[in-house]
Subunit: 230 residues, 2 copies
Amino acid sequence: MSSNLSERDFLALRRGYIFSDMEDGQFLEIMSHASSVEIPAGQLLFSQGDPVKAFYWVGEGLVRLFRSSPQGDEKVLELIGPGRFFAEAALFMGGRFPVNAAAQVASRLVAIDGTSFKAWLAQDASRCFRLLAGMSARMHKLVNEIDSLTLMKGTDRLLQYLLDHSEPDASGQTMVELEAPKQVIASRIGVKPETLSRLLHKLSGLGYIEVKDNRILIKDEDKLREGGLD
Amino acid sequence: MSSNLSERDFLALRRGYIFSDMEDGQFLEIMSHASSVEIPAGQLLFSQGDPVKAFYWVGEGLVRLFRSSPQGDEKVLELIGPGRFFAEAALFMGGRFPVNAAAQVASRLVAIDGTSFKAWLAQDASRCFRLLAGMSARMHKLVNEIDSLTLMKGTDRLLQYLLDHSEPDASGQTMVELEAPKQVIASRIGVKPETLSRLLHKLSGLGYIEVKDNRILIKDEDKLREGGLD
DNA sequence: CGGCAGTTTGAGCACGATCAAGCACAGTGG
DNA sequence: CCACTGTGCTTGATCGTGCTCAAACTGCCG
């Protein structure tokens, strides 16, 4: 399950926000405490409350960060794709993960040892500043999330999600390719799967979008942005 | 509006998590860039999007951190009381405040200059670690907030709020003294004022609590903790 | 006394959850 | 090759939480 890093991951990781603009020696130093982790689809990486031994970087695949209730319902907080770090903040959070993490699809991760990383951080304040900035950005996202859960309705959150994830495709049209099954996206935007289905149907009926499996064509981006709908 | 610090604030601030266990010289160094701010009840301290010039510590009073929607609704994210810092994270967040801040009651704050503080932080990585830990704790709170907004109902959130804020009073009974008007608490727990009123009434009718103005007597803490209610 | 802000209460409604059934599709095994 | 099963998605009917709109009540201050 754990082994040495591939050349490819090694280079990509070096470009991540934590390690960019860094001398080779320094980077090699911390990479000696990193290891590659292969994890099959659906498997749990860690649970809320587990002791934090490392943080992670995604080389390939998709990781689902989520909370779950005693009743078994789960709320997806974030989906982490290739090139991104996660759980860096947990290192400073009293030693326990505050969320669960599972592989949404089979994934290749790099685990960076926590204590080594902290020791390495402590050597240079400018390294800390990177991390502070990264954590701030994540806090900002969380605040935005709270904001939209309280101040907006389900439809609004779906529209926001679609606009945030839309990209022009090969033929120049604005498209969204859902990164995970609809039920996961539903949890991500804070509604039940049935509701997401109905919302998509409604927007489809209004002529705003066109849904085909996990691909959504944005037919009228401006109307979506206004959000004026009843 | 802005002046030198009182002796009292100076000493209390030194005990805050950011500056505790610090040599006098170091502390004096950063305090030369701090100033006292008196702010009347209701007044806005900064708005979302304002450039960040400083972060704050509360000497006396209460500060309301909130988001507001285009429609004018507002969501209270946190109420910051005496002895606590706020907006430290904003320093690293691209230079703009992600929330609004207003004095809930007349307050005395200490503003600590951002650029000086960052320069001071950069001198020693252990200083950064304090901040990293503080920010992690705040992130954890935000995650919990998202969790309870999505996975729990209004009643549950009220119960949680009551239990979190309850303290044994003089006569040995468990009490909650609401730190702000009910409408603000309502926003804090993510319901409308009318709904909070009804929820309190319901719990009162069930014999769980007793409400008298802004004081709430917890009559059966165990039942509240179970939360088994319909 | 009037005016005002905060709170309560009432009636109706809307959004989204729940429960339940049906459908499409892929994988498995007889 | 065709049931059989499981999974994800959709659709339908109903229900409940909490919001909206509106009115009345309270305490407080000018």
